[in-house]
């Protein structure tokens, strides 16, 4: 099909051309900035050469940064104006989508999220350009180099048949390989009828508006310590680079940590995982760099105070950034395939991503190897009674923890390299697998957090340490033992670990509270670290209690399947028919019915709780929903009732979507219940469970032959009309007749509604008749299969997040004050 000479109507080709120009400009400018910063860095500081190179470099970086901002702006305009002639816009947005999720459309695709990353790097680069003084040239040379690679991901050009990058501005829908042979391409006015495919319903959530930019700012920020560490090795200023890099590192730790937890909040609210963390490969890929990053920040603190662990500061700063690149490779190369729910699909850029990854790995290794012997060595060993010794141990535990998580997450990569067919553990098994490693690591880290605050750099008096640690240790031990007894954690080998983790969390929290009041005398200025550590302890405390004590209250007692082994005893789903009440935990729950609101079907589930006197003490309605999306598949989203001490999470596993409002559910089985008599006149109505019955008139002229009662003296038919809840109308006619003075009836059934009518009596004086109706006991009424989980004390986790953010902010502010 040739479409070259069709004049398409209503296309906005200027937007794509503008965007494409900006892509190329940003790439070239980044390359120029990198080269000229590189030349500037190779001149002597503040020499004439450096100043003139730097001038060009700054100009290039400004051009680069503003073209990136321009790209972001252009893409936003294209999305908000629904320019569906572009494949990216068509693919990720639609007209019916609420505008507040516009941002989510922006970064739903690979291209948009690369652009987001590039954007943050450009912002960070501008700030660094302004504030890095003598570090500007080498550091920005590295940042610009990273930008060259990132921009190349957006180029979308072919070099010798190999496609470099994917460009959201150049791919037109009518030229897209999947569509270019379709008939619509021949229609010059195709745009007038076109709507976009729309945003994945799971991403239509407010967390998805703020989680990706936060996470990507965190990812992007790892470039700062990386660039400073490389600059330090390159310019042989082995120690000086840390002073400017340190506040950035803690800023990044805070932002990345927040971003990861926001992802957890999204999963908790919008996904059907049944929790906030599922050890999904994509989650792991964002957690692993954070662990290394935290390690890097802490060894930099050691080095600042004691001048030790220099190699570790380099190693961890470099590896944090490289792990971000590795995470990018894992999630975007398509290698995770079906082992993850939310990895991106492959855009054929895995080769490019690998080049990117190995380029920076090789640079790091070469620079470290060349400089290794020149790094100043520490003179003596750390004392066992020093803070730095245990901080280093803590950083190493974090590194090992990161290693273990990456290893299991990398199973698809291992399969690729070694040709094996390993399958990573999923669901319950993933929990067991990761927890058996990560719980001991967490216990170690928490105990180190508790103790090392009371240790001084260099040398601590053991007596003083023991005196200080005694109170928090005592409180934590007593509380942990009491709670563990209450929960019955000492009875089983596996749950003893919970008791130990509980103790470690409490110990970390109370030790830091004690430190804050006793040593710091409640002064906030120096308390950033303590407060952040309290927050961290609370996050793990909330996570461990809500996970270990989570209770699936939707227990189904039917069917014993444990003969096949414990993992099959999955009884967490319960069936609820409309208006049936079931007891679930402390609650009586009733499925009240469904409502369709826009694209969502809400299933109202009423929860009632009886107190000791049998009165209902608590009632609320949860409305989990299923989002109907013909193009994307129907997606269930949970609903959660938040209490201060617990959350009740309710999630539809399966619901009947066939009968959506128009059709009543089919009734095919079940016995008729006891009939119910109605003494009525013509024109009266009475109710059944699923409809309204009207007695229209009495028919005395019934065809006796046809009814099989030729000998009847009297025969009267009651003409009934039944309106069901969906407004559909049914007819029924039970007949009353008398043969040989014996009154009798002919029943009339409405199978679809499960109703059976009989006509028993006519009272000529009042004109009233007796019509009885029986309904089927448990026909197939509308039903849902649902799951309900109680998460106790999950609020401790969210509170911990906020406290950790506050603490880290205080620490960064304090550090910046000192630096100036």
């Amino acid at each position: 099909m040739e479409s070259a000479n069709i004049q398409y109507l209503g296309e906005h080709l200027w937007a794509g051309q503008l965007g494409n120009c900006l892509v190329i400009l940003s790439f070239v400018a980044a390359l120029l900035a990198s080269l000229s910063y590189f030349s500037a860095a190779n001149c002597e500081v503040n020499s004439e050469g450096e100043i003139s190179w730097r001038k060009i470099a700054r100009l290039s970086f400004l051009v680069h940064a503003f073209s990136v901002f321009g790209m972001v702006g252009t893409l936003f305009i294209m999305l908000s104006q629904h320019y569906f002639e572009y494949e990216y816009i068509w693919h990720h947005s639609s007209k019916e989508m609420p505008m507040r999720y516009l941002a989510s459309c922006f970064w739903e695709g690979q291209e948009g999220s690369f652009l987001l990353w590039t954007f943050w790097n450009a912002v960070l680069g501008l700030i660094l350009m302004k504030g890095s003084k003598e570090w500007e040239s080498p550091v920005l040379a590295i940042v610009s180099l990273v930008q060259v690679f990132l921009c190349s991901m957006l180029l979308g050009i072919f070099v010798l048949d190999y496609k470099i990058g994917s460009n959201p501005f150049t791919i037109l829908l009518r030229e897209y390989p999947d569509f270019k042979h379709l008939p619509f391409v021949q229609n010059a006015n195709y745009l007038s009828k076109l709507d976009g495919k729309g945003l994945n319903p799971l991403l239509q959530n407010y967390w998805m508006v703020i989680h990706p930019p936060t996470l990507f700012l965190g990812f992007a920020s790892t470039v700062v310590p990386f660039a400073f560490a490389i600059a330090g090795l390159w310019k042989k200023k082995y120690t000086e680079w840390q002073r400017p890099a340190l506040p950035w590192t803690f800023f990044g730790i805070m932002v990345l940590g927040t971003g990861v937890l926001m992802g957890g909040a999204w999963a908790y609210e919008a996904l059907s995982f049944g929790g906030f963390w599922a050890w999904d490969p994509v989650e792991n890929a964002s957690l692993v760099p954070w662990l290394a990053y935290v390690g890097a920040g802490h060894v930099m603190m050691i080095h600042k105070n004691k001048g030790q662990s220099l190699f570790a500061t380099f190693f961890l700063s470099l590896i944090a950034f490289i792990l971000v690149l590795y995470a990018t490779f894992l999630t975007r190369s398509g290698i995770l395939g079906d082992s993850s729910v939310h990895a991106f699909t492959d855009l054929g850029m895995s080769g490019q991503l690998l080049v990117y990854l190995f380029f920076f790995i090789i640079i790091s290794i070469v620079l470290l190897a060349v400089n290794f012997r020149k790094l100043p060595k520490q003179a003596q060993e750390e004392s066992i009674w020093s803070r730095e010794f245990w901080m280093l141990i803590g950083a190493l535990v974090l590194l090992i923890s990161a290693f273990q998580i990456s290893l299991t997450t990398s199973i698809p990569v291992i399969n690729k390299i070694f040709g094996t067919h390993l399958a990573a553990p999923v669901e319950g098994k993933a929990f067991n697998h990761y927890h058996q490693w990560q719980i001991p690591f967490a216990i170690l880290v928490l105990i180190l957090i508790a103790c090392s605050q009371f240790l001084k750099y260099k040398k601590t008096d053991p007596k003083e340490f023991k005196k200080n640690i005694f109170i928090p240790l005592g409180i934590a031990l007593i509380l942990a033992i009491a709670i563990s007894f209450y929960y019955g954690w000492f009875s089983e080998g596996k749950t003893v670990f919970y008791a130990a983790l509980l103790f470690a969390c409490l110990f970390a929290i109370f030790a830091n509270i004690t430190y804050f009041f006793k040593i710091l005398k409640g002064k906030f200025d120096h308390a950033g670290a303590s407060i952040a550590h309290i927050g961290f302890g609370m996050i793990l405390l909330g996570a461990m209690i809500s996970t270990s004590r989570s209770e699936k209250i939707s227990v189904n007692q039917k069917g014993d399947v444990e003969i096949y082994g414990k993992e099959y005893s999955n009884k967490e789903n319960i069936l609820l028919q409309q208006n049936d009440t079931a007891k679930m935990g402390d609650y009586f729950i009733t499925y009240k019915g469904k409502r369709k609101v826009g694209v969502d079907v809400f299933y109202d589930v009423e929860y009632l709780k009886k107190d000791a006197n049998g009165r209902f003490s608590e009632t609320f309605i949860l409305s989990p929903r299923i989002q109907l999306n013909q193009r994307m598949g129907n997606v269930p989203e949970p609903d959660t009732k938040h209490f201060f001490t617990k959350d009740i999470y309710t999630h539809i596993t399966l619901a009947d979507l066939e009968n959506m409002g128009e059709q009543p559910p089919q009734i095919t089985s079940g016995e008729y219940k006891e009939p119910h008599n109605n003494n009525i006149s013509v024109g009266d109505t009475f109710f059944t469970n699923n409809g309204i019955v009207v007695l229209q008139k009495l028919n005395t002229a019934v065809d006796k032959e046809k009814l099989g009662i030729p000998k009847a003296q009297i025969a009267v038919g009651a003409m009934l009309k039944i309106f069901n809840v969906y407004g559909k109308i049914f007819d029924a006619m039970p007949v009353y007749y008398i043969t040989d003075s014996v009154p009798n009836t002919i029943e009339s059934k409405v199978d679809e509604l499960g109703l059976k009518f009989s006509f028993w009596q006519v009272n000529p004086s009042t004109g009233k008749v007796d019509i009885s109706v029986s309904e089927k006991a448990s026909g197939k009424k509308d039903f849902i299969v649902m799951k309900a989980i109680i998460f106790p004390y999950i609020n401790i986790l969210w509170m911990g997040c906020i406290i950790m953010i506050i603490g880290t902010t205080l620490a960064i502010r304090h550090r910046l004050k000192r630096n100036n």
């Binding site: 190493l396 399958a423 269930p636």
Partner: protein, 128 residues
């Protein structure tokens, strides 16, 4: 021996332990016939739903049992009993990974992973 050496050795030991444990915990992708030859051992079986045969789900009897027929990549067909609720939109799934073990001729899955064509990539052509 210096403290740092001891720490180094301990770390390497943990790392090696982690490697072996991770590989040990991993299950393997296999076909139904392999799973049947190792009855009782857990496998991941990749395959397609046989849409010509009925899926059985009777939530009023037991909402946590769902039976369907699946063809693996060697076209071997087995009855699969999933000990969970029927996943929403199961009939639209393109590829299934059933995780579980063989008991006799039947496969008992503790969970399934579905790959819905519609979830992230739309293969349906839009009518214009």
């Amino acid at each position: 021996m210096k403290k740092s050496h001891i720490i180094g050795i301990v770390l390497i030991a943990i790392a090696i332990g982690a490697i072996f444990a991770s590989l040990g915990d991993a299950s393997t992708y296999a076909s139904f016939s392999t799973a049947q030859n190792h009855e009782g051992k857990e496998f991941h079986v990749v395959g397609k739903l046989d849409k010509s045969k009925d899926m059985i789900y009777q939530p009023e009897k037991d909402p946590n049992i769902f039976v369907f027929y699946m063809k693996d990549s060697d076209s071997t067909e087995r009855k699969v009993t999933l000990h969970q609720a029927k996943p929403q939109d199961f009939e639209h799934t393109e590829q299934i990974v059933a995780i579980g073990k063989c008991v006799g001729n039947d496969f008992h899955a503790s969970s399934v992973l579905m790959k819905c064509p519609s979830k992230y990539v739309d293969t349906k052509q839009q009518k214009i």
